[in-house]
Symmetry: C2
Subunit: 431 residues, 2 copies
């Protein structure tokens, strides 16, 4: 381990507010909780050690600025998030924040003087685990926050987003003022763990993302009839769970078929299911299931959604129970900026890393920023593709590669145009 | 409406602590809650109006005594319970308590002087809705309460049974002292709504129960792998919900087949299901399902349980996921006393009601008492067999029939042997 990898290893733990990454419980830093604030505090501490100026914006995002010129000059931005799902991993989001800070460290240690402002950003509340709404912080920055819609949303304990935001020390009435105008940023690059295995499957080291597949999400509700399990004969039941059971298999099998007959990947999951009343001695009277469908091919995912809706109509007839389908989300996929992608490829090639182009099945903060600024996304591998789970893992060696890529990219974007090409790799070896 | 039916209609509401039986919310009086205590208080008030002596025993059961002789003479007992499931009906349990009180009213108004003590009992905590354990009060009376086992059980909000019992004003250390010795009761008869449609299907008015089908209950847990819905290709998943989906259909189809090939009825239900983590963007990593199997034919229900367990083994192999099956409950069915059954038939015949013999798919307090005392169970119809639901309904006319049956039974059991045979029917017409 060299000094930089030791630093990454130590700061990874610091950002995760832990003494060890090896924990069976994983990390739980839900949106706008004291746990997310604690991780943000660690981010501020590290940023200040590196000589960056930090401030929190109206949506709770933390910006760590390396000012090269006037404050209102456009900044080249990089970063990710520090919140997690319940019992999630310590790399989803954190990896991008860590590598961005590591890149600043390398550049500073090598006496680099940026010609443009650099911003390392830690977005608030990226995960949808608490409120069912994702990327709240980066939506606010990109002018995409629908406050009226958020107003109605509560977590499982009945706490509204508004209340959570206020407990986080923010003012609900000004949250949308976190929005940045087009001229305030020049570009944005995010680094993230892949949360899949394509990089490894292709024998590569780095993924350079072309598009982000945003989901279609459906809620299907079956209205059967709750009744006593012991007294209701089999032929007189309206068991909502029995009615919906084949649906689970249908969604899974159809998604597999769509992959066979299309060039684009598609995934579909029945991921949530809630029974009413969910008592041992009562037949399920109502079942609600959530379906998550993703592909960068929007037509493809909508075609599957249509087949699922049609299947529900068939089930409604065959079961004799009312089956209601609501479309909760239907977002078009986001394609990332080609220039930024080419620059990232150039940097990665110069560093000698084998890369592949790929699509992201997961949403990330970058998908919001891409709607306003030229944006890019790079993936580093994570073990067996496992994410949102305590066993999520990325190696320090891969985090180091990511750090060098960001450092070289920032140097290229904010430095003199005639500097050598893979300078951070050299500094990395020296450090 | 005559005076007795008016009384039944009014007292039905009083026992349900309501102004109207027509409520969309149903009734919620979970075990050992303030709501159950409130209904018990109504029972005490009505009992005292009728001149009965009331006392609460160590398990929270209320006894209303019509003393004909010394207190330690064996009592002829009748009654049921007043607690309900969450948003249940106002007849399950309450009907039996009401008809028992109504029978005392008829007997008293006609100047009947019992030669033996009569006990009307309102058992505490019959439903398993809160703690997953049923008939706590009548288990205690019958010497069947396993306090050590209960000690570990909590409700969904983390309250232990012990805590709930103490909040109910009882002493946990003496709960088992509610046990009655064989000589303290002579017999027990319960009236209950059918919670099925056999009576109606056979064109009858009253059901006389032969046996009570006690359940086999299984808990099946599938251990898959939680992972990101957007990034995990279809062919790299260990989706616990996809693995268990065919199981739901299997249990339902097999139960139907068992009914076709056997003389005894059998029902089987996948009634509970809990997904972990149950988030829209995470593949279900663990799914736990509860199965409830009932038949008075114990061999038949155990044969189905075995087929279900074998099927889980097949699923374990085909899915590549660990599937664990636990038997939570395996209780033998209870057969009711033939003499009591014959006496009830005799009373019902004398009153001119068409009755059928049947089995009970639901457990009732009587199944505990039947292990120590000669016991019987009669059913009155309920609308469309619906129970454990706000639309549960029994007509006042049927409650009146039940009241007359209990009155005649008590008269026969505690009166002079040479009195006329259908005396309460006559008083009913006169009143």
């Amino acid at each position: 381990m060299n000094e930089t990898t030791s630093w990454l290893s130590q700061k990874l733990k610091q950002l995760n507010v832990t003494d060890t990454m090896a924990t069976n419980e994983g990390f739980t830093r839900l949106s706008y909780t004291a746990e997310e604030a604690e991780a943000q505090q660690a981010f501020i501490t590290i940023s200040e050690e590196l000589g960056l100026d930090t401030h929190q914006d109206e949506a709770g995002n933390i910006w760590a600025m390396w000012q090269a010129g006037p404050e209102n000059n456009p900044a080249v931005a990089t970063g990710s998030h520090l919140d997690t799902v319940f019992k999630g991993g310590g790399y989803d989001g954190t990896a991008g924040v860590l590598c961005s800070l590591g890149a600043v460290k390398i550049l500073k240690e090598n006496g680099f003087q940026p010609k443009k402002n650099i911003a390392v950003v830690c977005f608030a509340s990226e995960e949808s685990a608490r409120f069912g709404v994702s990327t709240i912080g980066s939506k606010a920055v990109s002018g995409l926050l629908d406050k009226d819609q958020l107003e109605r949303i509560k977590d499982n304990e009945g706490t509204t987003i508004r209340k959570a935001v206020e407990s986080f020390g923010l003012d609900w009435s000004t949250i949308q003022q976190a929005e940045k105008q087009p001229g305030e940023l020049e570009s944005f690059v995010e680094l993230h763990i892949e949360q899949g295995t394509e990089i490894e499957d292709h024998g590569a080291e780095i993924g350079i993302v072309r598009g982000v597949a945003c989901p279609v999400r459906l809620k299907v509700t079956v209205h059967g009839m709750a009744n006593h399990t012991g007294t209701t004969p089999m032929d007189k039941r309206k068991d909502a769970l029995v009615a919906i059971a084949p649906f689970i298999t249908f969604v899974n099998e159809k998604a597999k078929l769509f992959n066979e007959s299309s060039n684009h990947k598609l995934v579909a999951t029945v991921s949530t299911m809630n029974l009413q009343p969910n008592y041992m001695n009562v037949i399920p009277g109502e079942v609600e299931v959530g379906v998550d469908i993703r592909s960068v091919d929007d037509a493809l995912k909508r075609e599957l959604a249509k087949e699922i809706i049609d299947y529900c109509k068939e089930l409604e007839i065959s079961s004799g129970m009312e089956i209601k389908v609501e479309t909760l989300v239907d977002n078009a996929s986001v394609f990332l900026n080609k220039d930024v992608k080419n620059k990232l490829e150039h940097v990665v090639d110069n560093l000698g890393y084998r890369s592949i182009p790929l699509d992201s099945g997961a949403g990330h903060d970058v998908m919001n920023l891409a709607k306003r600024w030229p944006s890019g996304l790079i993936f580093i591998p994570c073990k067996e593709g496992i994410s949102h789970h305590p066993t999520e893992y990325a190696s320090i060696a891969d985090l180091y590669k990511g750090t060098k890529i960001i450092a070289d990219y920032l140097r290229m974007e904010t430095g003199d145009e005639n500097e050598s090409n893979n300078w951070s790799d050299r500094t990395g070896r020296l450090s």
